[in-house]
């Protein structure tokens, strides 16, 4: 079981490295996938709210360290997203365990958690700055969709590796 946490740790490190250096290679217009958010949602879905919010908090701190935004804001948003990622799939328990239902469950979970994360991030981040909140928020929706596409690939890859551990 401990091996899995090392594995997640390495994934976070890889995600941070990729996010800071090679992300432009997969950039489409202004859209870049948020790899740390993807990992937090996957961990939340797999291991529940406690692990999800913890992964979110520390993943958010990593994210804050590499950004120039308000320190702690990413940690707050990610912790909430990790927590939600554990709760949302429970609404779809009746959906079965087919690949399609897993895919739909992941997409809905990722999108809802991502929206909440972004609402927190942009609301607190733009307080007092005079930045147009609505316009900023309109821009993040396509970005979330783009991240979700990447998330699907990472979700199935990570799930496969985790299954081998378990």
């Amino acid at each position: 079981m401990n091996n899995i946490y090392w594995f997640y740790g390495l994934l976070f490190l890889g995600a941070v490295l990729f996010q800071t250096t090679l992300i432009d290679f997969v950039q489409v217009m202004y859209m870049k996938p948020d790899l740390i958010l993807i990992l937090v949602v996957i961990i939340g879905m797999r291991h529940g709210a406690v692990v999800g919010s913890t992964a979110g908090f520390f993943g958010g701190i990593l994210s804050d360290l590499i950004s120039s935004g308000l320190f702690g804001l990413g940690a707050l948003g990610m912790a909430v997203a990790g927590h939600l990622a554990a709760l949302i799939p429970a609404w779809f328990k009746e959906g079965g365990d087919t690949t399609l239902s897993k895919l739909v469950r992941f997409l809905i979970t990722f999108f809802l958690s991502g929206v909440v994360h972004d609402i927190i991030y942009f609301t607190i981040g733009t307080i007092g700055s005079g930045a147009p909140w609505l316009e900023s928020f309109a821009l993040i929706i396509p970005n979330l969709f783009y991240s979700a596409l990447f998330g699907v690939l990472i979700y199935f890859a990570v799930t496969k590796v985790i299954r081998e551990y378990e």
């Binding site: 250096t21 709210a49 919010s53 908090f57 308000l70 320190f71 702690g72 940690a75 912790a79």
Partner: protein
Amino acid sequence: MRFQSILHIAKRPGILLLFYIFLAMILMNFNDGGSLKGIRGVILQTVEWMDAVKYDWRSRTKLRQDNDALKKEIFDLNLTNQKLREVVLENSRLKRLLKLKRESPHDLVAARVIGSGNERGYSSLILDVGSADSVAQNMAVVNADGLVGKIISTSAQQSVVQILMNYDSWVDARLENSREMASITYSSSSWLDLEYVARNIPVEEGELVNTSGMSDIYPAGIKIGIVTDIFESENDLFKKIRVKPSVNFYAVEEVFVIRSAGAEKASGE
């Protein structure tokens, strides 16, 4: 016991989330702290360094691609240059031919050399004109440099030229200065032989040899070549004279066929 109860509370997701939210808010208050700036600075420097490596790698890739593209462009330009040079040379040749056509009193048909027969001693050229262009056997073939030969066979679209450097070739010629008549034949090597010039006829090296006009095939005054060597012997009635042909038969590309009414009837000289 107290630690275990804290652990128990921490395992309740809602309380843990609230704890993280509280912690995150505290962290937000340390946003302007010097140590945080230091950590961020180090991280940003690392990112900057990695970015520089990435930029360098991208530049090298782009440089390699540009290099390949430029190499291809140079190749294409060389090819175009070569073609243009060919066009300039062709233009120059065609200008000379046009001048010949304008100044010639004969009825000329322009033709392009499309092939050659290089059997030793029986060289020939193939032209892209034939009986459909009113070209017939025994018509003389010339270019801007002089006499090339005569037509020996035709089809509708093509014809074969027997050039002067052919064992079967025989042309009535005239020395330009002495006006003496003689015959041009070919025996071997890269020169023509001027035959039947009596020993008492004065001939000079460099003298021009033209067609005499004494046959139905070759009109008078077409340049054949220049005298290069003269050999005399006490035992011979005639001089042995070598003539350098004015036409480079191995580089002929465009020619004119002189259309003459009696060509078909003419017997080979």
